[in-house]
């Protein structure tokens, strides 16, 4: 097959482009690049849950908020180096994921979606009632003032590349097979020996960990965190937009979706008053014209995949 070398070259060129970006691109471009990287990461993790394991979560923001707050608390109150704090954020997110897993895995489909959302809302309320993190006032992550832009960018890039690679490898692994089976028919997959709880659990933890990390990097860039926003549903709605516009259940979907999303956001913010109406219109339009997302529709038309996960 000739597809394989083409694919490899493409990936290498893309990587080279991304890695050298801070050297030649404007700082604005790098900033946008960072946002794209972070959204790719977050969306890939949502896609891992929703697109491959059938766990449509509306509560990813719980890990975003937790990651951000862990960063804020440990860097501001304990003087922990920022990047280490970001790592803590990942671990705390995993901890939360373990705590709630027994409860949320009993729920399926929309129940799971709403269940996770409610947990995130509840966490938001808890944080806004908690004096230690300054109630609803929010916190500044001041050590981040001093970080270099390219440093944060590379952190984002590493997360982005490793999350995509992780999803790809995971799907090519045996676990990926089980996940797809669970998504299609969970009961039937169980009678074929798949331990559903374990598979979902692994995915959920991975997704929590990386989402927590990405949130840390995100708030290194945003610097100010506030509970209602950090634990707000709009995060997951954005991820939903990215994954669905890009193509759910594909590795490439979140990448394309994130690029479109970030560029749209940058572009639209200037149309004050109309920006969201246009955004809504575009959302509906894309769903109509590319029902399987852009990547899904492209794949149908051309049959070409950048990251093939099927077993022949």
């Amino acid at each position: 097959m000739t597809a394989k070398p083409i694919r490899l070259t493409f990936i290498v060129i893309l990587l080279a482009f991304l890695v050298t970006m801070p050297l030649w691109a404007s700082r604005y471009a790098v900033n946008v690049g960072l946002l794209v990287c972070l959204y790719v990461t977050l969306a890939s993790m949502w896609n891992l849950l929703a697109g491959y394991s059938g766990m449509v979560s509306l509560g990813q923001q719980m890990f975003i908020g937790l990651g951000g707050y862990t960063l804020a608390v440990s860097s501001m109150y304990f003087g922990v180096p920022v990047y280490l704090s970001v790592l803590f954020g990942g671990f705390i997110s995993v901890f939360l994921a373990v705590l709630i897993s027994v409860s949320v895995f009993r729920m399926k489909g929309v129940y799971f979606a709403i269940g996770t959302w409610v947990i995130a809302e509840a966490l938001g309320i808890c944080f806004s009632n908690w004096g230690y993190v300054k109630y609803g006032m929010g916190m500044f992550i001041q050590p981040a003032y001093k970080l270099s832009m390219s440093g944060v960018y590379y952190a984002g890039l590493i997360l982005c590349v490793s999350s995509v690679a992780l999803v790809f490898l995971l799907l090519r692994s045996n676990l990926g097979l089980a996940l797809m089976a669970i998504r299609d028919d969970d009961q039937a997959s169980e009678t074929l020996g798949v331990n559903i709880f374990r598979c979902k659990f692994i995915c959920f933890l991975l997704s929590a960990f990386i989402t927590g990390l990405a949130a840390g990097v995100l708030y290194l860039n945003a610097i100010f965190i506030q509970p209602f926003e950090a634990f707000g549903i709009s995060w997951t709605v954005n991820l939903l937009f990215i994954v669905i516009i890009g193509g759910i259940g594909t590795v490439e979907g979140p990448i394309l979706g994130a690029i479109i999303f970030v560029l749209l956001q940058q572009f639209l913010s200037e149309y004050v008053g109309y920006n969201l109406i246009i955004f809504g219109g575009i959302t509906i339009g894309v769903i109509f014209f590319a029902p399987r997302g852009l990547v899904g529709t492209l794949q149908m038309k051309t049959g070409w995949e950048l990251f093939p996960v099927r077993r022949q």
Binding site: A50, V56, V102, S103, R106, M107, K108, G109, V110, Y111, A113, I114, G115, W117, V118, I119, E121, A122, I125, C126, N129, I233, V237, L240, F241, V243, I244, I245, I248, G273, Y274, L276, I277, F279, G280, G281, I282, T283, I284, I287, F288, P291
Partner: protein, 287 residues
């Protein structure tokens, strides 16, 4: 004892309102198996429509329903025909996205037309209380909300259980192909269903508009209530929706009374999570 009677009664009555807020979503969510993120906006749109009629024609808010309800039915019908019908069979996500797009369009169009100013549907009722044995007052508006809520839910439940249209809505959602083979015009039936859901949104929009103030972005807040209510009760069960409203209302007010006001909303969520953990299909949910 008396101390707990007040939150109990208030909670039940508040729950009635929550129930109505949930019905429209329950129709779409439980019966058509889709998540309509624009439900809250349909409610608030109705509140604004009622406001317009109220100001232009000088009617009582409840009376404006005579105009608002058919109008919303028509709007719901059109939304289904033009937008939702195209993605009904494509799983959960495309529908989620389209309804999300619709919700931000409605929200921001309202913002452009009506400015971000607060509005309310004025009636003399809102500041009246009903004295209960001289112990405490129950807001009159709560009684109205509860009564309307109970009526709407009962009517709709009977409609879904006893009429061909009700069966047809359920059947279409279960299996489109088979429904077509029964002679059901599936697209039209869905459009009726969303029309009905929009009418319940209109009713809850007017009640909410009378009880509270509203803004173009108020919809979101009611959406999560509606979700809670439907989930607690169990998908597809209209009595469940009403029960869900009561459970949410009572647990909020009790939580607020016992744990402190900061925990009023939180205790509602916690009860919700506990119920879902113990009974992942909701209280009256079948599967």
């Amino acid at each position: 004892m008396i101390e707990y009677l007040e939150p109990l009664i208030n909670g039940i009555l508040l729950g009635g309102l929550y129930g109505v807020v949930g019905i429209g979503l329950s129709m779409v969510f439980g019966i058509m198996r889709q998540v309509n993120l624009a439900h809250g906006e349909l409610m608030i749109l109705s509140s604004y429509l009622s406001l317009v009629f109220l100001q232009v024609l000088g009617l009582h808010p409840l009376v404006t329903l005579i105009l608002v309800a058919p109008l919303m039915f028509f709007i719901g019908y059109l939304i289904q025909i033009l937008l939702f019908n195209r993605v009904m069979q494509r799983g959960m996500e495309p529908f989620l996205m389209i309804s999300f797009g619709l919700s931000i369009i409605i929200q921001n169009a309202l913002l452009l037309i009506f400015t971000p100013d607060a509005r309310s549907l004025e009636t003399a009722m809102v500041i009246k209380g009903v004295d209960v044995f001289g112990l405490f007052n129950i807001p009159l508006i709560y009684l109205v909300n509860f009564t309307v809520g109970a009526l709407v839910l009962t009517a709709l439940h009977q409609f879904m259980k006893r009429t061909y249209m009700g069966w047809a809505i359920n059947a279409s959602a279960d299996n489109e192909t088979a429904a077509k083979l029964m002679g059901i015009n599936v697209n039209k039936v869905y459009a009726y269903a969303l029309g009905i859901a929009a009418v319940t949104a209109a009713i809850s929009g007017v009640l909410v508009g009378m009880s509270f103030t509203f803004y173009p972005h108020s919809g979101t807040q009611y959406l999560i209530i509606a979700f809670g209510v439907v989930i607690i009760g169990g998908l597809g069960s209209l009595p469940g929706t009403f029960l869900g409203g009561l459970v949410l209302g009572v647990s909020q007010l009790f939580g607020g009374r016992i744990l402190g006001p900061g925990f009023q909303l939180l205790s509602g969520y916690i009860i919700l999570l506990i119920i879902l953990t113990v009974r992942p299909q909701g209280i009256l949910g079948g599967r």
